[in-house]
């Protein structure tokens, strides 16, 4: 565990932890949505500071973790087309598809490039007029403006050898899917700060109202997370269910309108299959008709059979907050970051990988003491 002095504001950390212990009288289960928050909670030892009555479960907010097997298969298919360059964020390469991962396709000779930004992919398309460049556009609402902008730029500059494979996912419908599950255990949500920097908070009010659940828009540093947890527990102890903003230094109620307009110019809301969870209606973005020339699914007329998920992986239960990574029989045995069975073991923002990296260290430290 870290020394308190390493935090941004050690005094505040201490104050929040003490207040949490003081006010918590009943057991509460809270879910943080964003994988960056999961990583931060686990790595900074925050889970160990919380009152025993508070259980944190780790939501589906890691795009690497929720991209379905079939979409990985689509990406592999595109990468293996002649004269095609598939570009992706680095994290996606090791996610297993039904037959292979992108990394395996690359080893077999497919031209796959890791890029930092979709806008670089448009440049690559300009430099390679004899090839078709596809960007694997995964991500939550935070990433959607950049992916949309890449399409707009390509269109403006008349770059015709560029398209995107959109696999965008949206937070509010996933929250609703989790909350409407009969087995749901969650009493409160920490919503993802940077998603709300783009989208604002409006979409969360009806969710809080309908399910009578506190939703706190929260940042990802230890002080933010502790304050977000405290705000949620205060509401729960007082029988309240409001949307509150912990992350005021980055989130405006209306979000970034310019970014929202950019998204809506290129994307339309569509159904989406989430790895581990299944199909959630109206929970993703797909390229709209106006820009369909930039939709890789349309350009390549992809027709890939639906792939079943690996039954050994219980990531769906983990992302719905029903189980913890250590309750998976494969955790740390058949499934490790070097040989992931499921996607949450791939990315550092996946709950399984976060537990694997940090909890093991912490356990060893405790034993050593």
């Amino acid at each position: 565990m870290k020394f308190l002095s390493e935090y941004r504001d050690p005094e505040l950390v201490k104050e929040y932890v003490e207040e949490l212990h003081r006010i918590t009288t009943k057991p509460w289960t809270l879910m943080e949505i964003c994988g960056g928050q999961t990583h931060s909670l686990v790595k900074n030892g925050i889970l160990d500071m919380l009152p025993e009555k508070i259980t944190m479960v780790h939501g589906p907010g890691c795009p690497v973790c929720v991209t379905s097997v079939s979409v990985i298969d689509e990406a592999v298919f595109l990468a293996e087309q002649p004269n095609t360059i598939l570009c992706s964020f680095g994290d996606m390469l090791r996610v297993p598809g039904s037959k292979k991962s992108l990394l395996e396709a690359k080893a077999e000779g497919a031209d796959i490039r890791i890029l930092y930004s979709p806008l670089e992919a448009v440049e690559l398309a300009k430099q390679n007029p004899d090839k078709h460049v596809v960007f694997f556009a995964v991500g939550f609402e935070t990433t959607a403006p950049a992916n949309a902008l890449s399409v707009i730029h390509a269109a403006q500059q008349k770059v015709t050898n560029y398209s995107i494979l959109a696999s965008h996912v949206l937070v509010p419908p996933a929250m609703e899917a989790i909350l409407s599950d009969d087995a749901n255990l969650i009493d409160g949500f920490l919503a993802a700060g940077h998603v709300c920097t783009i989208m604002g908070m409006e979409e969360y009010y009806p969710v809080a109202e309908k399910y009578k659940i506190p939703i706190i828009v929260t940042g990802f540093e230890p002080v933010d997370l502790l304050q977000g947890i405290l705000m949620a527990v205060k509401q729960l102890e007082n029988n309240e269910y409001k949307v509150e903003n912990q992350y005021v230094r980055s989130v405006l109620r209306e979000g970034n309108r310019m970014a929202q307009d950019t998204i809506h110019k290129v994307f339309e809301v569509s159904d989406r299959v989430w790895r581990g969870i299944g199909a959630i209606p109206q929970s993703g973005y797909e390229v709209n008709d106006a820009y369909k020339q930039y939709n890789a699914r349309f350009r390549f007329a992809i027709d890939i059979p639906f792939a079943e998920e690996n039954k050994e992986c219980i990531s769906g239960d983990i992302m719905k907050g029903l189980k913890k990574p250590r309750q998976c029989p494969n955790f740390g045995i058949k499934c490790k970051p070097e040989h992931p069975l499921g996607a949450p073991m791939v990315s550092s923002e996946g709950a399984c990988a976060a537990y694997y990296h940090y909890s093991f260290n912490a356990m060893e430290e405790n034993i050593a003491v």
Binding site: R8, C34, G35, G36, H39, S40, K43, G61, C62, P63, V64, F89, G90, D91, I114, L115, Y116, S117, P118, L119, E120, G139, F140, T142, T143, P145, A146, L149, A192, H194, T197, I198, F220, E221, R249, S250, N256, M258, A259, T262, S347, S348, E349
Partner: protein, 82 residues
């Protein structure tokens, strides 16, 4: 890849019209070409939150520095090297 990383705008490199702007942004010494379309109010010297090549918000300097240090310590800025 989900988090946005703060950096400082060093120079505006391209301005096609009122909205289409690109600039060089420094992230603790690593410099990247960043699209500034969504932050029309940002000027040279300002700090912006950047996600996969696009600035999404203007932040104050102190906040930017603290957040950057935190992300670095968490290993979240490695994507800038890609």
């Amino acid at each position: 890849m989900c988090l946005a990383i703060p950096g400082k705008i060093l120079v505006i490199t391209e301005q096609l019209d009122d909205t289409f702007r690109k600039g060089k942004v420094s992230f603790g010494g690593i410099t990247k070409e960043i699209n500034l379309f969504m932050v029309p109010e940002a000027k040279v010297g300002d700090y912006v939150l950047v996600h996969v090549g696009v600035a999404i918000n203007v932040v104050d300097e102190e906040e930017a520095k603290q957040t950057f240090n935190y992300l670095k310590q968490m290993g979240e800025v490695e994507e800038l090297n890609e």
